[in-house]
Symmetry: D3
Subunit: 322 residues, 6 copies
């Protein structure tokens, strides 16, 4: 377990703690001897460091992404903190709490998952039931589905974010499916649960949240369709039309080709799924953006992706000024 | 009351009925005498006609948009029906049922309006209460708000469509406001009710649904803000911030400048209103498009605005083939 | 075999021939009796027809897309030819030459396929070899791959068009791979062969060339990745990186998200594949457009998709004027 | 009155002068005691400062935007000047010359306003005359109209900029209205004077030029229409068509929806107003950009909004090199 | 000289007049004999015709674009007028008045040209003077410059349109150059005169207004620069900077790359020229569009390029209804 | 000849070498005396410097772009190297090797040029032969054509880059011209050789690679057409159509108006030229981008223009980690 997080460390301290090694690069001193620049990280930030001794040994045994027990003294260098590393030992990923190293949802993952299961259990189609049974029995899938983030930045960009986003959307989908007549609740709920499952492979989230090779090369939409295809192939007599419509929900859920969907939504369920996704990711994204801003102004700073400032309101402003 | 609608009239009949005169234009016979080409309409379609006699009198007394009692015989001319008009009398708009001449919502307007009133009545802010009181007391507003269409084409393009669209959105807004914490239900419900009120002046819908001069020159967003501004000015101490945020919901409800909003949504309530509007207009628009298409195919024809075919499904196709 | 193609039939003839029934729709005569409007087609065009007798029997036994032996007399009706159908018999698809009913490549399909096999045989990677072996052994795949069109309109929009387009691209790819150093010829050739295989399911091309349900709902890019995924799963130890890069070629071959690729090309091979596809489809598309235009002008008519007139040249113009 | 402007202050000086407090934020020393970071500004720039003593008192009594008499010594800290504030006293806005704190037009505001009045006085329509009378009698309107900037950045971004921009445009409009026949000079001149009046509320310009809450939430186009609507409502028998066309000039003056106009120009006067606005803002914007650039090059640096370098010319280059 | 224009010809007349032969195409009668479909045109419209006799002779001697004296009788065929041509004789272009066959400016070409010369004569730069002298001495240039249209459609699409457009712009440029300080009137006036000269080769306008091969392949901007380059090369010591800036006015006058300018305006003169061009072409285009519309409505029909209806006004509407 | 390149210079050295003076700017010391900030460059980078003595003399005699022999001592200032210049002497451009000061192609310029000549020599058209003869005889053209870069950034942005890019494209064009029937190899090869010749004037590349005034004001497409026009004018009976088609290849080679081509490609040769240009510039650009990136990651950093990361591959990553 972590003793102290990076954002609490000050100059002058001697640190003994486990970090993730985010980057390392070899450099040369004027005298020709090698030394190592490293970046150590936990969920609260990054700490630059140097290693003067024992460099070759470390280069050989420690890889970016490793959890490393480090001992060293912290000082200020060029206006920033720097740790002079004295000792390093690789630790297994099992021996640490990933939540110490990556931001994590504030909600209870197991409870969210149970809630999702209970909604999935209300589906009546025997084929959809069989499909979800296949997913829930797939332990690796479940493990990753519970921890994956929903994005690298922008919204739900933390461990458990995918599950949190999916559950919120399923709950919205249920409400909206009931509002209009003629909507297939079965299809909409099933598609909502599965729409982003490709993200469990689109991202790496062992020690930092970033795109995986597969994510960058194939996109979670394509990965997700493959994952569904694989499971459906093993279910006898899965109706072809139902399979197509379910995959279509995944394929079209970004709404437009410009946003990565090879085809736009062509059923009302697909149109709804796209808007439900938009609503949930925008609401979460704007809130997190507002929360990340310093108080004291009625407006957020300019949000580059959304292209605007958001209004936080008069009251907030007054509070922060008194 | 109408005897027979245009889509039921056949060649060889002698017609005595009230139509709306949609167009008239003077033309000249080879012998130099004037005659009149007219288009008579009701909610089921248009009927071309000619008037050979008494032309000057008609030109003087009948204007496009008038309800006209017509007698005449119907024949076929160049492959289409044509009525040779023998007699015409202008009738007052009061003496006819507008629903005979323009498409109308299939739902009960009074019940929808009562339902809207009851939701508006749940608002707690005394200023918002006062604002709605002012609107509901404005008889001309209420009369128009109950009959206005929500669009010329695309969605809810029929009398009562604005009310139907608004009520559906308010109900959705209520559900979504409850889904997320930190949403101002007051603001979202009030803004949803008012977001499109400018449409009661943006459209003409006495005898055909089309843009009014004011609609084309100012846009319903600008008209709506003026209408709210006028009412708010008469309410004492209406809080300035609340007024701004309410108007902002109207100003931004199209989501992007490209779609006519001078500013994009800058509060979460405004973001939500935009999506709720999108959902309700798209769902209604796609359904009406599907319903307007001939059965017998699994797909609709190409929808030019949406840029795609929509899937109607296998079962429909099979039905139509058997 | 066809006796006479539709573009050669004239008014006054009595026809006994096999057509594909492209459309049928029931209508009612003034006396209340049913009759049938039909459209009969072959590769040279469409022929409208009516069936007055025996209608119920035909409605029951003949479906759109059937090949039908028809007897009837041809006359002119409202300025177009019309066949009054006297007799109809369904014929099996085996008993006709599909090339009589749909436009077909002018080149020899078997020779093109052999040529493609021989190029595929030059690949050295044992895993790619195994992959292509799996495809070539899949008889249904091969049958469809040989007959599928490459598009509904625009380019190679005829039976065998996919193979013709693929082979031309592979040959170009081979030349370009040799032009630059550091290109993986293995990957580029393999990806070029497979890039459009999803089209064998994206289109229906039994009796008319149109999008299939699967094509409209999933897009050939997504279908193609699933097809490759299915084959690769059965090959032992197929290297993960090679599989990703191969699928990436399919995923990105439209170059931009706007054109349907969920991810843009991120390797030089993918960049090249996109351009090779662009070149071959544009050159074929422009040539077919030029060929479809009436001679006698130095310019084609306006091409709506490309947004321009194409120059056919002075000499052509002179020829056509003399 | 200012003793010395910020751009003339050097390290080592002891300053006694009035600044505007642009920002203040509380921070904590290592020993746990509060101190205050402040930014003091005048029209020539910003000066960072710290307050070590009496912090709570200042926090309570001084707000961002206040004019503050400050005493303190200036030193260099991390490569920039910093004032160590010893004494602070709030001063009333009346006691300072706003032109000392914000950039101001170089032209005589009163003369410009008189010139505008004299042009407005040439209008012949009694209703337009009544409308302008109403505006000129509105003292708060006149006061703000004389001082408002025309923009935050880009063009005429200084006190009096709105008036300068409006007057220049009115003069251009007069010339262009005379060039073409059939233009309503009345409408064009009136619309030009009023097109940007919403900016007097869109911006805050008491101590810094920035968007107001109302500006960001409603946009000056919507604000301007409300302002005109309010005045017109009080004029008897203001012709409806004239009112619509005048408001349309305001609504459409940005030319395209993408640029914030809910409707594009639909009369020739509106088309002209849009171009006159474009010309005057572009010419002013480019000139100010050129003037803000260091001499010595024939080209400006890259202008991000306009997406290009501007040519300043050979002669300039030579001059600056000698 | 024309006896009677096409829009005045009625069925039953026997015509003896000169037309331009816009199109001819050979067809075959059922009996295998050739006949000729022709289109005859003058500035008021087109008249379809057939030639039954002497076909081979006509095919050999008459070419599209020829002026042809025709005798024939006019009847109605399929709802349109058709002339059965009995006699044809080619006439030389000199023997006809081109203004009878193509729409022409309503203004006096010679007076417009003199006015332009007099403005050009106010330029002071000896090099610009020499340049214009070279152009005015180039008889072919002058002849074409006086007759060329400014466009195929949209604005000034008639003989003399280029001159009319240029003169109007020069006059506007003179006014605007005087409005701002620091504008080079020399450069702006010279550039305005020359900005569209490439159009004298971009269009064919001998018997119909259409793009020339050169126009479609090179664009009038590139043609215009070549024309200026050719003249400048022959002027001794023409200052390089002046030549570049003058050509830049031509190159950039469409304002954006999307509109065909390889570079956007980079001097204030170029920015102004672009707006002056926009104003004059829009005002002319909108007016001609309004004039081409039937009276009787306050609005024009939808203008596809401009994407809107234009307001013609209440009064017009009333007039046309009475 | 250079003694030592900038990237090899360290603090503490005393330098005696020739650099290009990229920038100089006069500044004032606190005591009021002038000093000079300079930037010295060679192909490996920039070195900041100060001159304390003899400033006026240097200002008068040395201009940006001059080659200057410098003596001075190098130290560290604010974390970067700085040379304190003691002595300066201007050197003539002839006395230095330009390749020392600007990046240069790694390939043999003379050999590349010979190869290009030999391909041009295969053309059969006597007029094209005459045209190239005219270009090859133009010594200034040849000298610049051999040294010009193909771009400022992005691809082939080094001396000789234009020739390298052109030769690579010509070789590709030859292959592709042979792949399709009906392509004019003559036109395609000639157009490919000439498509970018305007770049020899679009860029300055004497001491740094940047746009020239002419390049920024006219664009290389317009410059190139003028250059061809000038040569063609001197060739007797150069066929007009051939000249137009050749210029069209230059005009349209950027493919779309948005990318600077006043007209899009309207012949198949022009379509091909555009793609060949795209392929060669993209392949070169991506490779150079990959090469400029630090090893050690499977992906490049984000490429802003291309809007993506590029995949460098697993193997690279492993190599760099061991």
């Amino acid at each position: 377990m972590k003793e102290k997080f990076i954002n609490a460390i000050g100059a002058g301290e001697f640190v003994k703690d486990i970090f993730v090694l985010t980057e390392k690069s070899l450099a040369q001193k004027r005298d020709g001897k090698n030394f190592l620049n490293v970046i150590l990280s936990d969920k609260t930030g990054d700490l630059k460091g140097v290693v003067w001794d024992n460099v070759d040994d470390i280069v050989e045994h420690i890889t970016s992404g490793d959890f490393v027990y480090v001992e060293g003294s912290v000082n200020e260098y060029k206006g920033a903190l720097q740790i002079v590393v004295k000792k390093t030992e690789v630790r297994s990923a099992d021996s640490v709490d990933p939540g110490d190293y990556l931001p994590e949802t504030g909600r209870d993952i197991e409870k969210m998952f149970e809630r999702l299961l209970s909604i999935a259990a209300t589906l009546k189609s025997i084929h959809l039931k069989a499909l979800f049974e296949a997913f829930w029995k797939d332990e690796e899938f479940v493990r990753k589905f519970k921890t994956a983030p929903a994005a690298k930045k922008m919204h739900h960009a933390y461990l458990g974010g995918l599950l949190e986003h999916t559950l919120s959307m399923v709950s919205l989908a249920d409400k909206i499916a009931g509002h209009y007549t003629g909507i297939s609740r079965e299809l909409l709920i099933a598609g909502t649960i599965l729409h982003d499952i490709g993200k469990i492979r689109e991202f790496d989230y062992t020690y930092k949240i970033d795109y995986s090779d597969e994510g960058r090369l194939l996109n979670h939409i394509v990965i997700g369709v493959q994952m569904i295809d694989e499971k459906i192939k093993k279910i006898e007599n899965f109706p072809e039309e139902q399979a197509l419509l379910l995959k279509h929900l995944v394929v079209s859920h970004h709404g437009f080709r410009e946003f990565g969907s090879p085809e736009p939504p062509k059923t009302i369920e697909a149109v709804l799924l796209n808007y439900i996704d938009e609503i949930d990711s925008k609401v979460n994204g704007i809130r997190e953006f507002m929360a990340s801003e310093e108080p004291g102004s009625g407006w957020t700073s300019y949000h580059k992706i959304f292209g605007r400032h958001f209004y936080k309101g008069k009251e907030l402003k007054q509070t922060s000024q008194e």
